[in-house]
């Protein structure tokens, strides 16, 4: 198998403000993100040779991308639940490596707030099956499926519920602090641990502020052959690794799954580290954007991604390891928690933050001398997951 390290570079990115964009349709979000990326890369729409559009609910087929009025080029819609945005980037990268094109667009969009309901429209109730056997089985919410992890984590590591919830609250507080420094984030408010602890319960032990925002938004990347990158800009970002690992519901079917880790996360990150030549992720990775759909997942990800030893994320949370000033800042832009989670856009939104950080353009959130950044998405939930990891760097080699 060929290593894709340093063969493709990102030369332009765009991201809309996330949030309840009542005034904007899918077409507005797509145009806003794409044109920021075009301008950033210094390309014209006519330069794009192929495009991948990722969305979960906001349009069928690549016709979803028609608002950009690209003229008869190959376009494909991709979908991989919450890993959809990263999937678009993966497809575009592979096409360039295969030599099918030299300049491609990867774009993700989700318009959730036209549903007329609270929450995510579509199979938000996990028992509903997309393939037609809908509505037969049990109904439980997405927060519940992550609450199982919190219940079990607290049980296995002997944390009293209040103790465990306080740890999770610190993650929400950190991400809201980061988001408050980010005008494009859905929410811009700071939170206190007490506010998080006192918020209404959604799925015990998770409360309102343990859950990410339901948002509208889009994000886009222009990718090119690495050897062409410097002709677009002086500070391109090189793709070091892309990996995806999909479960077969093993954890939902078999008793040997423990609900305190997600195997898909572990395997996707290992594969990515191998491709990028990373031996010690905690030391070598400068910053990470991870899938904090619920605070408990970010906590478990510290361990799944090898940032903290198994069962010891607590010590790192208490030490501030993952804050902006910490040893390994995580979710510097606010994360799903505060930046918001338009499903199909999230993977590329994460990449947008890493891209800006690696270029030194992250404003008040800028961390010192970053070299390598990681994005991580999880589609599905504990037991039934689709995990994606991307690693990028600002230098070749």
């Amino acid at each position: 198998m060929e290593n894709l390290k340093d063969k493709v570079a990102i030369v332009g990115m765009g991201c809309t403000k996330f949030g309840e964009r009542w005034d904007m349709g899918v077409e507005d979000l797509l145009v806003e993100a794409a044109y920021e990326a075009f301008e950033d890369a210094g390309v014209a729409p006519a330069d794009i040779q192929a495009a991948w559009i990722g969305t979960v609910f906001s349009g069928l087929s690549s016709i979803t991308l028609s608002p950009l009025a690209l003229q008869y080029i190959p376009m494909t819609r991709v979908e991989n639940m919450c890993a959809t945005g990263s999937e678009a980037l993966r497809a575009a990268t592979y096409a360039i490596i295969a030599g099918a094109c030299d300049i491609a667009l990867a774009i993700g969009v989700e318009k959730l707030k036209d549903a007329g309901t609270t929450g995510v429209k579509g199979p938000a109730i996990v028992g509903d099956n997309i393939d037609g056997t809908s509505g037969i089985g049990p109904g439980y919410s997405a927060p519940a499926s992550f609450a199982y992890m919190a219940t079990r984590y607290f049980h296995d590591y002997r944390l009293e519920p209040e103790e465990g919830r306080r740890l999770l609250a610190k993650i929400a507080v950190k991400n809201h602090h980061n988001g408050s420094l980010n005008p494009k984030a859905h929410f811009n408010n700071e939170l206190t641990v007490e506010q998080v602890m006192k918020a209404p319960i959604v799925a015990w032990p998770l409360g309102l502020y343990d859950c990410c925002g339901v948002s509208d938004g889009a994000a886009a990347a222009i990718v090119v052959r690495a050897d062409m990158a410097k002709s677009f800009r002086v500070d391109p970002i090189y793709i070091k690794a892309l990996s995806i690992c999909v479960g077969a519901r093993q954890g939902a079917i078999r008793q040997d799954y423990d609900f305190v880790h997600i195997e898909e996360n572990v395997l996707a990150s290992r594969k990515a580290y191998e491709q990028a030549g990373i031996k010690n992720p905690r030391k070598e990775i400068s910053l990470a954007e991870v899938h904090d759909c619920f605070t408990i997942h970010e906590m478990i990800l510290y361990e799944d991604l090898g940032f903290s030893p198994r069962g010891r994320a607590r010590e790192d949370i208490d030490a501030g390891t993952f804050t902006l000033e910490g040893e390994l800042p995580v979710n510097t832009d606010g994360g799903l928690k505060c930046f918001g989670h338009p499903l199909g856009a999230s993977g590329l939104r994460m990449m947008y933050e890493i891209y800006k950080q690696l270029q030194g353009k992250a404003g008040p959130r800028q961390i010192k001398n970053p070299r390598l950044g990681l994005t991580h998405n999880l589609g599905g939930n504990a037991g039934t997951g689709i995990a994606s990891c991307c690693i990028v760097g600002n230098e070749k080699g």
Binding site: P138, G139, P143, R249, A252, R254
Partner: protein
């Protein structure tokens, strides 16, 4: 000769305090409690639970399932077939719905005895349940309760011989519901009692005693249904039965459970019976069926399961608002959350065995029991990837433990907050499912659970039955 082989009962967990109802309406009213079927229960699910209880006391195969109720879930479509599928009965089993009469339970018992005596069946399981609704603020709201009971009739091993039976019909209009009536309608109370219930019952009980040359004092227990406590006591007085002989009708504890009531009382009587006891049993409604039963030395076989009295004592009080909502007696705001998609009739049919009796598979290569979380067929083993090499494996009768859980405010339920979690079955296999009939204060990791057949949410008028986990009663 046909006799009773086993009995079973089911009393829903919830109770409504009649004092609270009176207080709500600001009227002087009844005291006591009534049993209330959960928001996810109906006559069919309660009958299934009673039938399983009956079966657990006597694991003999049956040739048929008779379902007796006046509150079946469908006007057109058989309830007995749904129950038989949930019980995983053999495909050649006979299924019949006995309905429209409060006497349907005893009618079904007689029909079952006839089938056995004719030699066409070895054993028939009769399950009776009702969930009748009285108009709010009315007498029947206080009077009626929900419950189920089951009786297995067969040629052996018998716990009570049917020594005699006697029936009459009567076209007497006392209680009724037409297709348009949600609530039980009734003629004047005094008229019902003095011209209907009392003379009909007296006639039949005297006649069966005459046929068997028995006298009131010969019976260890007398078990009969009635509309209310007053008419029940009046019949006992007129017949000359001593208070000690008369089976407690449970009116104050659970209410009048309709078709289930006489069978529920019979189950309780037999749980306390001694060998050689003579029992007089009668069901009333559009006439009367009476039976004389002789308890045999096998009666100890039915012990071991929770008794009717224990089931009645396990109630949990709900408030009146919840009751009104569960029975759809008040309009309530619809959820602002996205609606679930409709159940697919064709998908339900394709996976009927998995849905009806909670069948999964066990891999013949690695031995792993597995159940698909959204009711799909498992073709390839999730553990060893062996293809199409499975044997059927039933999960509905397996107990399990709660591996993890969430108290879910977003779960669609009429008894919020919802509770769902990961159930690990004893012997292997896992299911992420809804829980029901829980006491939130007692929920914990490792809690023992069992499976129960319930109504899931309803779409397109189809009643979507499936299995939930519930805490195992200690």
């Amino acid at each position: 000769m046909a006799g009773i082989i086993s009995i079973g009962a089911y009393v829903p967990k919830y109770r409504l305090s009649l004092e609270e109802v009176s207080k709500f309406w600001g009227v002087r009213g009844a005291s006591g409690e009534k049993a209330v079927a959960g928001y996810d229960e109906d006559s069919l699910t309660m009958a299934t639970a009673a039938a399983l209880d009956c079966w657990q006391r006597c694991q003999e195969p049956v040739d048929g399932l008779y379902f007796a109720t006046t509150t079946g879930p469908y006007k057109e479509k058989q309830g007995a077939a749904v129950i038989a599928a949930a019980l995983d009965l053999d495909r050649v089993s006979r299924t019949v719905d006995f309905t429209n009469s409060l006497r349907a339970g005893s009618i079904a018992m007689r029909a079952a005895a006839d089938a056995v005596n004719s030699g066409s069946a070895q054993r028939i399981l009769v399950a009776a349940a009702d969930c009748r609704i009285g108009a709010p603020q009315g007498r029947f709201e206080s009077l009626l309760g929900d419950g189920a009971a089951a009786v297995m009739i067969g040629s052996g091993p018998i716990i009570a011989d049917i020594e005699e039976s006697y029936s009459i019909f009567s076209d007497f209009t006392d209680l009724w519901r037409t297709e348009k009536d949600k609530f039980v309608q009734s003629a004047e109370g005094r008229f019902i009692e003095t011209e209907g219930f009392l003379p009909t019952m007296q006639e039949v009980l005297r006649e069966i005693m005459k046929k068997t040359s028995t006298a009131p004092q010969d019976f260890a227990k007398v078990v009969f249904s009635a509309t209310d406590a007053r008419s029940h006591a009046e019949l006992a007085r007129r017949m000359g039965f001593d208070r000690k002989q008369v089976q407690e009708p449970f009116f104050l504890q659970i209410g009048n459970t309709g078709t289930a009531a006489p069978l529920l009382m019979l189950a309780s009587a037999l749980e306390e019976a001694q060998p050689q006891d003579l029992v007089l049993f009668a069901g009333y409604g559009d006439g009367c069926d009476a039976f004389i039963l002789r308890v045999t030395g096998n009666i100890g076989k039915i012990h071991g399961q929770a008794s009717v009295k224990q089931k009645i004592a396990r109630g949990m009080i709900i408030n009146y608002g919840k009751y009104l909502n569960w029975r759809e007696l008040v309009p309530v705001e619809t959820s602002s959350l996205p609606q679930r998609s409709e159940p697919s009739v064709t998908a339900r049919w394709r996976e009927r065995k998995s849905i009806a009796a909670l069948y999964g598979v066990r891999c013949k290569d690695c031995g792993t029991p597995q159940l698909h979380p959204i009711g799909q067929k498992i073709r390839v083993c999730t553990k060893c990837q062996s293809k199409d090499n499975f044997e059927p494996y039933k999960f509905s009768d397996k107990k399990g433990k709660l591996f993890s859980y969430a108290v879910d405010q977003l779960q669609p339920t009429k008894n919020p907050p919802g509770l769902n979690g990961v159930v690990d079955f004893d012997g292997g296999g896992r299911l992420i499912c809804e829980l029901t009939d829980y006491d939130l204060d007692k929920v914990r990791v490792g809690m023992p659970v069992e499976m129960t057949f319930r109504r899931m949410y309803q779409g397109q008028g189809i009643i979507n039955y499936f299995w939930k986990a519930k805490p195992l009663e200690e």
